[in-house]
Symmetry: C2
Subunit: 199 residues, 2 copies
């Protein structure tokens, strides 16, 4: 097989969930399509990578800093919803049931894989809590072992800080992943959030 085709198949097969067979099918699709199709895909990849950065406040992905939610005058600036990844912000927004701010951790604590709190945007969250008039912190990390550990870590760190801390309800099955549930499930989990501080 020719080098450029082999390289394209290899590069596509590095994407998550794309095996060699799918990568090959996609590669031939791109070769069969009008040249603009491939060109526009290549450009979209480059543009996204060049223009999208982390918002300096909430650390969601954005092409304008601060992001549109952090800049908005129509959001409740006294609530922060803490999520693991940027895509979780989209999931929350899709419920239409949340009107506060966000904070994206970019991961969860996984000690055995060397992901310690310092590798996440936790210190940035603590800084925000010092300067922003936050009344409630909703911990919306996934209800998994690591997501729970991260929620507990944040709660412990804030032991002496007077902020209402809540955790999204276990409407999401334990071990599940926010991204794969419909808006209603996520909305219910949000509505049923409970106090999270240890008594």
């Amino acid at each position: 097989m020719d080098k450029p085709l082999e390289e394209l198949i290899y590069r596509l097969s590095r994407l998550p969930g794309i095996g060699t067979k799918t990568a090959r099918r996609l590669s031939y699709f791109l070769l069969d399509s009008p040249p603009e199709e491939a060109e526009q895909l290549a450009m979209a990849i480059q543009e996204a990578r060049e223009k999208i950065r982390e918002c300096s406040i909430c650390h969601d992905y954005t092409d304008s800093d601060p992001c549109s939610i952090c800049k908005s005058e129509h959001r409740d600036r006294t609530v922060i919803c803490v999520v693991e990844r940027p895509q979780d912000v989209q999931v929350m927004e899709a419920t239409g049931k949340y009107n506060g701010l966000y904070h994206v951790l970019h991961g969860v604590i996984v000690p055995e894989r060397g992901i310690v709190p310092q590798k996440l945007r936790i210190k940035e969250l603590m800084e925000r809590l010092k300067h922003e008039p936050i009344k409630e912190l909703i911990l919306a990390t996934n209800p998994t072992k690591d997501g729970d550990m991260t929620a507990r870590y944040i709660t412990r760190t804030l032991a002496d800080v007077d902020i209402h801390i809540t955790r999204i309800a276990h409407g999401i099955p334990v071990g599940g992943d926010l991204e794969y549930y419909d808006e209603l499930t996520v909305a219910t989990a949000l509505a049923h959030r409970t106090d999270y501080r240890e008594k």
Copy 2:
């Protein structure tokens, strides 16, 4: 959602078998990865699209014209295997059982969708047969309604030409289960039954 991210998700979702949800997952993967990852994928797409052309003889995709098979001195230049698409050449090569030349039609005849013989590389095949010392033409279009129609069209066009024309066998795939194939496939497998005693 930001424009460059939306555009990337849209462009990825245009790929076959990639829905919006998968496109979103892939987009975030590219944003989460080191910038080189996205850059190399974008480059691979552009390089493939720029460098890969149709071989002027067999019309397979190639980055050097004529392609390595058409140029090879180790292939049987008296046999041409006619396939629908470039990826079928790879499938044939993977068997390790074929050592002749190829001709890629780039599709099959589908009158209801306006794909008439003139839109395929059929006239190019006829030209080859005038100038190359071909003894056998193996019709390896898929055993579908359209693939069969295309094979019949080529055969009729060559009615007055003295070349041995063969068609790949229909039947139950090796390892297949009778129960899972339709009546026509089973009936064809029965009609085309071969002697089974060892000689």
